[in-house]
Symmetry: C2
Subunit: 225 residues, 2 copies
Amino acid sequence: MKRKDTAIVLASGGLDSCVTVAIANEEYELALLHINYGQRTESRELLAFHEIAAYYNIPGERILIANIDYFRKIGGSSLTDLKIPVQDAETDSKGVPTTYVPFRNTLFLSVAVSWAEVIGAGKVFIGAVAQDSPGYPDCKPLYYEVFNKLIVAGTKPETRVVVETPLIFKTKAEIVTLGFSLKAPLHLSWSCYKNTEKACGVCNSCYLRLKAFKDSGHKDPVKYE
Amino acid sequence: MKRKDTAIVLASGGLDSCVTVAIANEEYELALLHINYGQRTESRELLAFHEIAAYYNIPGERILIANIDYFRKIGGSSLTDLKIPVQDAETDSKGVPTTYVPFRNTLFLSVAVSWAEVIGAGKVFIGAVAQDSPGYPDCKPLYYEVFNKLIVAGTKPETRVVVETPLIFKTKAEIVTLGFSLKAPLHLSWSCYKNTEKACGVCNSCYLRLKAFKDSGHKDPVKYE
């Protein structure tokens, strides 16, 4: 039997990446990458990540936790700068929200592609969502098209790594439905930007998650305040 | 008098980035970025970086040291994996050398662009050299063309950041000559991949540096074994 190819999945511990792991698991040997960039709920997200990795029986050599300190140093986002408050949903429906972390996905993908070159993975999966993302410039399809060109230009000639964004054109409700159909461990995922024990239910991330479960006709298994 | 625009310069502490700092200093307010990615001579490079920053009187708020741990974890390069020996010059004249760190410059530029978005810098300078680089795929002009497209696609609409590679078509000898003419502090720069006190003179980086000084008719002010 031919051994499956390896796919690296960027997994924050959130809903979208949890479903992305389930999608990649259908066809590939999984390698999971979590990036600690000093986000305010990192300890909770990391717990969710490890629980999701355990659910899929990922061995230690196919788990990478990358620690990055500079977003905390440079600030500019409410996710990493504790002086900037996290906005509630719909108070900032226009423009780029305060939770935008400048050029963050380029960092994420650069780590993933470096690891892919070393372990010979042919795919990098990221759970970016264009439609429901509140104005993040690095969640748009064009960004990923250009990034795939960058991989060709910037890696060894024999390297073949392609970034896949299976959720990019889906609504959050479709993502929840897909997650249930693939038996993704949605009960282990964590989305809240504010809290670490019970989800707040009011930050933009909770708002979008709750709406997604409601629209898809499912109950969110995570506990709220 | 109009305030100068800010340029972020990626500064390892090496020869090429030292001259790149001198070039950016002609037109821009400098902000210097150093990335510690676990390279084997990091402590010596960081010393060189701080000495170069002091030479140009850069204040603390325009200095960023980013600490990145994952290259050590993933290995794959003799610069970050202490089990892989650093090759001497010309023993590996074909293909990508062992000192290649997979997709490293994408990490460097992603950090720089993130910081540029926060501080409003319009330029990111990197001392990449295509001609004399020993086969590194991310030192080629096409890579930077694509990266500049990625910035447009992946940052806020109002962000205008452009990556500049003033050395990319120069020979190492031309870089040394330019460094002397701009009074770059070449005596503070550090290039050796192997040692941290006196340069080894035989690793590929020392070999290229010594040849560059010789070809340009200058004496290298750095001490060798």
